[in-house]
């Protein structure tokens, strides 16, 4: 029973990983690629690690998986936000069908 639930979590995680990487290739703009890939891949990898935690229980490998989940949930949005901010400040243009750009309007007030 444990192994079936763990396998279901791992399959859901791998599906989210695959969808995130399809979005990384498919999307037309760098900001859309960041939006599609980073969230999906974070959720997918957290699903895989949660499946490992259910499979092993609270042994050494399971506790390491739990530590890895917490670390990933803390650091992945930070790195994605830093990359998006650096990309916008280095002057990469948006896609020509994008609607609004609030950060460009607020850039003078922020810096």
């Amino acid at each position: 029973m444990h192994e079936i639930i763990a396998l279901i979590f791992i399959i859901v995680g791998i599906t989210f990983d695959l969808f995130g990487c399809i979005g990384l290739v498919r999307m037309p703009d760098i900001y859309n690629r960041l939006q599609a890939s980073t969230k999906c891949v974070t959720l997918g990898t957290c699903g895989i690690l949660f499946g490992v935690l259910i499979k092993f229980g609270f042994t050494a490998a399971g506790v390491k998986a739990l530590i890895c989940i917490v670390f990933l949930l803390l650091t992945s949005p930070v790195s994605a936000h830093a990359l998006a901010r650096a990309t916008h400040r280095s002057g990469v243009k948006l896609w020509d069908k994008s609607v609004c750009d609030k950060y460009e309007d607020d850039k003078d007030a922020l810096s």
Binding site: A6, L7, I10, I11, G13, I14, D17, L18, G20, C21, I22, L24, V25, R26, I30, R33, L34, S37, T38, V41, T42, G44, T45, I48, L49, G51, V52, K55, F56, T59, A60, A61, K64, A65, I67, C68, F71, L72, T75, S76, V78, S79, A80, A82, L83, R85, A86, T87, R89, S90, V92
Partner: protein, 112 residues
């Protein structure tokens, strides 16, 4: 031309998924690792082709997160728990690398 490119990618993805699911005679966990290898290939395609350097930095960050999941599936598949040590160390190194690349792309020095 645009439709042809879309069709080529769809044929590659659907062919790979159906081939792995239906025609390979291996375990289920080995099939799952092969599905993860497809997403590795897609991320490597974006690293090779990306028009701006920021695209390559983002794809490198995504690749670093994918390696953590791959190490976790290896820990399930082989039953050895030291693969999780590799996963934690790889996550630390990938986070520091992504922050350093972000500072480098932004154009400031590393001290600021």
């Amino acid at each position: 031309m645009r439709f042809f490119r879309w069709l080529l990618g769809f044929i590659f993805l659907a062919g790979a998924i159906i081939f792995i699911f239906a025609y390979l005679k291996v375990d289920l966990q080995a099939k799952l690792m092969l599905y993860l290898l497809i997403s590795f290939l897609l991320s490597l395609f974006r690293i090779l082709k990306g028009p701006t350097p920021a695209d390559r930095a983002i794809a490198t960050d995504v690749l670093g997160i994918l390696v953590i999941g791959f190490c976790a599936i290896l820990a399930v598949y082989t039953g050895r728990d030291w693969y999780m040590d590799i996963a934690i160390a790889w996550g630390l190194q990938s986070f520091i690398g992504a922050l350093a690349l972000a500072k480098f792309i932004e154009g400031k020095s590393f001290d600021a």
